[in-house]
Each structure stands twice: as structure tokens, then as C-alpha cells.
């Protein structure tokens, strides 16, 4: 699939990284330490109503900049330089943007490897739909439809349509949701979206229960709803091929102070929660989106024959070789060694000839050694590390494998002694015969 293409771009990345990587932890960070984030709102009240979320970001060292979507001075870039490392789009109703920002520029922002958080809400604008759609997330066509779940809603005296969902089916990934995850259900009130199953870049982080459906509570249904059951995704994340990360939530109020501190009781269950899981969920997932977790990089890819350490330009079949690579994870501040037991390398030519799990020293150094197959050709060391919630590592290094040279074959084989002896006896015989024949009389 994307192998070659990605391989190429990655190899170039490696070139860059090799420059950086001294392999130790004193790697100069190649990610900004105090990322600047533009928060686009269509109503400054959001600053207050969602202040807790923003506060948590600010505490983590992000420099937030609030702008109205209608602000005529809006710009993501100036003179080709991106002004921000991340973009938070908390303006569900924004039809248009001021200044130089439009859908295309926002998508370019993502395609330049930067991150985006997008929160929708009932009555979201076409513009936002388009952006979400470009990221592989399809919101319910009916803009008045909300997610309704008569079996899994949070009991509150203001909610008269069971649209305040208490969702607790999270994606099983500590990389995305942190070690603890969210211990309380997450409150959700908003619009449903779905993700094409074929799309393996988008992950459903928070999905609805089997009894949920998306409809307009005011009107009676006269047909099965377009979205229903577990196929409804409430919160999804996209990790683009260039590792840009996008968070798309069907509910803006999921991030609001109100929901953060909302004490509630889930319908049917006796346990009532002091506060919802929203705050934790929002903070953890924002950590992921802004690459504080699950961002890997591989450096110092190296391979050599057992014995001598410098990297040859070509191997011979049945050589014994060693392969090593260092993998680090970005913590938001530094690169710390990444430790996992499932990193694998392939020795690949059209199909993997050897696929081996690397063993590591706990300091991020992964190594293995194996014997080159007795097949010649142009092989690749392919390290293809694709784990849920982690940036994809796809590194391939090309190395030709040549057959034996004419003088590398086995000689003086015991099994062939008779042949040797006889041919030599022939030589001797010839010599003798020559003498005898010539001088006989």
C-alpha cells in the first residue's frame, strides 16, 4: 500500500533525524515546547463557558489565542510561515471565516502536519461539515437530528429529550486516553457522525451504545434513522498519514465547564457520579491530539555484518547480519525512550522473507540479528510499526543481496576427492606416457 511512497518520505525524514539524533535523551526537540494554538469561536462567551478546558491547556504550557471567526484579521500563515501549531475550532455555526482563512486553508493547515480540534453541535454549518468530511467523518445529514438514547442517558431535570448521553464505550488505547482513561462516563449532547469502516486513518474514540439513534426529537420518525446503534460515533480522531492529528466531536458542550463538573446519575444504574468523566477525557485526548502522547520517532537505523560495524553497501546471501534502530516517544517536553515488545522488522523483497521481533534494552535501542536468506535481489529492511494511537513508523532501507562470487564457492570437497585424484592421475599418466611413448623402440 503506501509503503513505497511513505517509505520514501520517511527515509527523507530519517535523513533529517539522523542529523538530530545523537541517540541519547539530549535530543534537541524537533517539536515546539510552547505550542501556539488558535482558538476560533463564533461567540466570545465560549471563552467563559469552556474556561476550564482552556485553563487546562494553558497550564500545560500552550499559548492560546482567541479569535472570533468573523475577525477580519484572521490568518493561519504569514509569509508562508504557519503562525500556530494547533487550531481549536469551537464555532459550530461558523459559515465563513474572516481574513485569509477558509476551508482550504484549514485543510492545508492539517496537511502541513498541524493539529486540529473541531467541535460540532446541533445546527452545525455546512462549512464545518465539509471540513469534517474532508477528514473522513460524516455528520448526520439532518442538521436538527441529535443523538438520542433512551437507555443510556444521564438523568437531569432540564433534559426533556434524552439527548444528554452518558457514553462509556471508549476505544481501548492507553495512548489516546491515557493510562487511567476516563473513570466516569462522558456526557455528550449533540450531533452524531459515522466513520467509513474502510477508512483506517480515523479512530472512533467514543461511540454510542446499541440503543442509541440519531433523530430529531420533535418529529415522529417515518423511517429508520440514518445513523443508529454502535455505528454512531460521538468523538473520533483522525491521524493523517503525515501524523497530523484531528479531533472531531459531535458535541461542543462536551468540553464545557457545565459538563466538566456535572454530577449525574446514569439511567438504570444505581451509581451516581460526583462529576462526569468529561474533564479527564477532554484533557487526556487533547494531550494526544497535541502529540503529548503516542508520537514516536525512529532514529539511527543501522545494520551491519556480525563482526564488523560499518554498514556495507551490499550483502552476500547467507551472511549473518545485525539490525538496530532507536525509537523515542515525545512527552511534550522531551523525547523519552519508547519501550515495547512488539516492534518488528521485515527483511523484504516483494514479500517478507524474514519477519522478526526486535528485542530492546529498555533505553529505546532495538536490535536483532538474523541470517540473510539464500535468495539474491534488492531487499529492504522494513520497520512498519502501526499501533492504535501511535504515530506510524514506516522506515525502509534498501540493501542489495548478491549471490556468491565465483571464488566463494566451497572448494576441496571431500566427496569429490576421487574426481580430483583421477584427473591428476590423468595428468601424471600423460606425462609418463609421453616419456615412454616417445623413447620406446
Amino acid at each position: 500500500m503506501a509503503m513505497a511512497g511513505r517509505a520514501i518520505q520517511v527515509s527523507s525524514i530519517i535523513v533529517i533525524l539522523l542529523g538530530i539524533a545523537s541517540g541519547s535523551l539530549s535530543l534537541p526537540p524537533d517539536r515546539s515546547l510552547h505550542p501556539r494554538i488558535l482558538v476560533l469561536v463564533d461567540d466570545l462567551t465560549v471563552k467563559s463557558s469552556h474556561s476550564l478546558f482552556f485553563a487546562s491547556l494553558a497550564d500545560r504550557g500552550y499559548r492560546l489565542e482567541f479569535k472570533l471567526t468573523s475577525d477580519p484579521s484572521l490568518a493561519l500563515t504569514s509569509y508562508g510561515e504557519y503562525l500556530f501549531d494547533g487550531l481549536i475550532l469551537f464555532a459550530p455555526a461558523a459559515e465563513h471565516f474572516g481574513g485569509s482563512v477558509d476551508i482550504a486553508s484549514i485543510l492545508d493547515f492539517v496537511d502541513s502536519g498541524r493539529d486540529l480540534i473541531l467541535a460540532a453541535d446541533v445546527g452545525m454549518s455546512e462549512t464545518l461539515r465539509t471540513i469534517a468530511n474532508e477528514c473522513g467523518v460524516e455528520f448526520d445529514e439532518d442538521s436538527n437530528a441529535v443523538v438520542i438514547d433512551h437507555l443510556n442517558f444521564a438523568e437531569s431535570e432540564t433534559d426533556t429529550e434524552h439527548s444528554l448521553i452518558a457514553a462509556d464505550t471508549f476505544v481501548a488505547s492507553s495512548a489516546i486516553l491515557g493510562e487511567k482513561g476516563a473513570e466516569a462516563p462522558v456526557l455528550f449532547q449533540g450531533i452524531a457522525h459515522s466513520v467509513a469502516p474502510a477508512n483506517d486513518l480515523v479512530i472512533k474514540v467514543l461511540s454510542a451504545s446499541a440503543s442509541a439513534y440519531s433523530a430529531n426529537p420533535e418529529v415522529q420518525l417515518n423511517g429508520p434513522p440514518s445513523l443508529s446503534g454502535t455505528s454512531i460515533s460521538l468523538v473520533s480522531v483522525l491521524q493523517a498519514r503525515n501524523n497530523a492529528r484531528v479531533l472531531i466531536s459531535g458535541s461542543l458542550s462536551l468540553f464545557s465547564n457545565k459538563f466538566f463538573v456535572f454530577p449525574f446519575k446514569k439511567f438504570g444504574s444505581s451509581t451516581s457520579f460526583q462529576r462526569s468523566g468529561n474533564q479527564m477525557f477532554a484533557e487526556e485526548i487533547s494531550k494526544w491530539v497535541f502529540h503529548e502522547r503516542g508520537h514516536l520517532k525512529a532514529v539511527n537505523v543501522h545494520h551491519h555484518k556480525v563482526g564488523n560495524l560499518e554498514e556495507p553497501s551490499m550483502y552476500r546471501i547467507t551472511d549473518h547480519i545485525e539490525y538496530s534502530v532507536e525509537i523515542y516517544e515525545w512527552t511534550g517536553k522531551t523525547w523519552k525512550p519508547y519501550v515495547a515488545d512488539d516492534v518488528q522488522v521485515q527483511f523484504y523483497m516483494m514479500s517478507p522473507y524474514i519477519l522478526k521481533t526486535l528485542n530492546h534494552n529498555g533505553q529505546g535501542l532495538y536490535t536483532t540479528s538474523f541470517q540473510v536468506p539464500d535468495v539474491y535481489g534488492v531487499f529492504q529492511f522494513k520497520l512498519d510499526y502501526n499501533r492504535l494511537g501511535y504515530t506510524t513508523l514506516a522506515i525502509s532501507k534498501q540493501i542489495p543481496v548478491r549471490p556468491f562470487r565465483h571464488n566463494e564457492y566451497e572448494r576441496f570437497i571431500p566427496a569429490a576427492y576421487p574426481y580430483y585424484s583421477s584427473s591428476f592421475s590423468m595428468m601424471f599418466g600423460f606425462f609418463l606416457f609421453g616419456v615412454v611413448f616417445l623413447y620406446h623402440k
Binding site: Y419, S422, F433
Partner: protein, 114 residues
């Protein structure tokens, strides 16, 4: 049947008598050829036993024997006084060719022996 056997016996006796007449030099050659062929046969047997693994070695070994034999036969033909075709060809000239041929042959064999 017995008649046939008798005939065969007679045949061989006559062959023998005819062969005794041949000069020693030719006999030497014959001996030489015989010796080469024996070696060849032994190798073939060996190959049949253990399979043709170092095939190049076998080939060279075998062909060196056969080659020697063939060259010797050529020599024999050339120096055979009974042979009308080679009146104008002296024994020594033939021998020189023979030596050259053998040297070449063995060079090649050595190269191929691996």
C-alpha cells in the same frame, strides 16, 4: 548355439592373433586408453553411488579421462602405419599436436575442477 559360441571363440582367437601383430607403440597407446577408460568408469560408478553433487568436479574428472582417451585414440590413428590417410604426417608431428592438445585439455580441466 554351440556353433555360435564356437564362432565367437574363433572370432576372438583371430582378433587376438591379429592384434599381436600390432607394434608395441600402439599397444602402449591402447594400454593408455584402457587405463583412462577404467578411471572414467570408476568415476561413473562413484557418481552413480553418491549422486552428482560436485557436478563440475565429476564432469572434469570424467571428461579428463575421456578426453585423454580420445586424444590418445587420435594419436593412435595418426601414427598407425596401417592408416593410409596420414602417410605424410610424421610421428613426431603428431606427438607434438598430441602434447599440445593434452596440455590444453588439462588446463581446461583444472579450471573447471573448481
Amino acid at each position: 548355439m554351440a556353433g555360435a559360441a564356437g564362432d565367437v571363440k574363433a572370432l576372438f582367437s583371430s582378433l587376438k592373433s591379429a592384434y599381436v601383430a600390432t607394434p608395441t607403440k600402439l599397444k602402449i597407446i591402447d594400454l593408455y586408453v584402457f587405463y583412462a577408460l577404467c578411471t572414467a568408469v570408476i568415476q561413473v560408478v562413484y557418481m552413480a553411488l553418491v549422486g552428482s553433487f560436485p557436478f563440475n568436479a565429476f564432469l572434469s574428472g570424467f571428461l579428463s579421462c575421456v578426453g585423454t582417451a580420445v586424444l590418445a585414440v587420435c594419436l593412435r590413428m595418426q601414427v598407425n602405419p596401417k592408416n593410409k590417410e596420414f602417410k605424410e604426417l610424421s610421428l613426431e608431428r603428431a606427438f607434438a599436436d598430441f602434447v599440445l592438445a593434452n596440455l590444453v585439455l588439462h588446463l581446461v580441466i583444472m579450471n573447471f575442477l573448481g
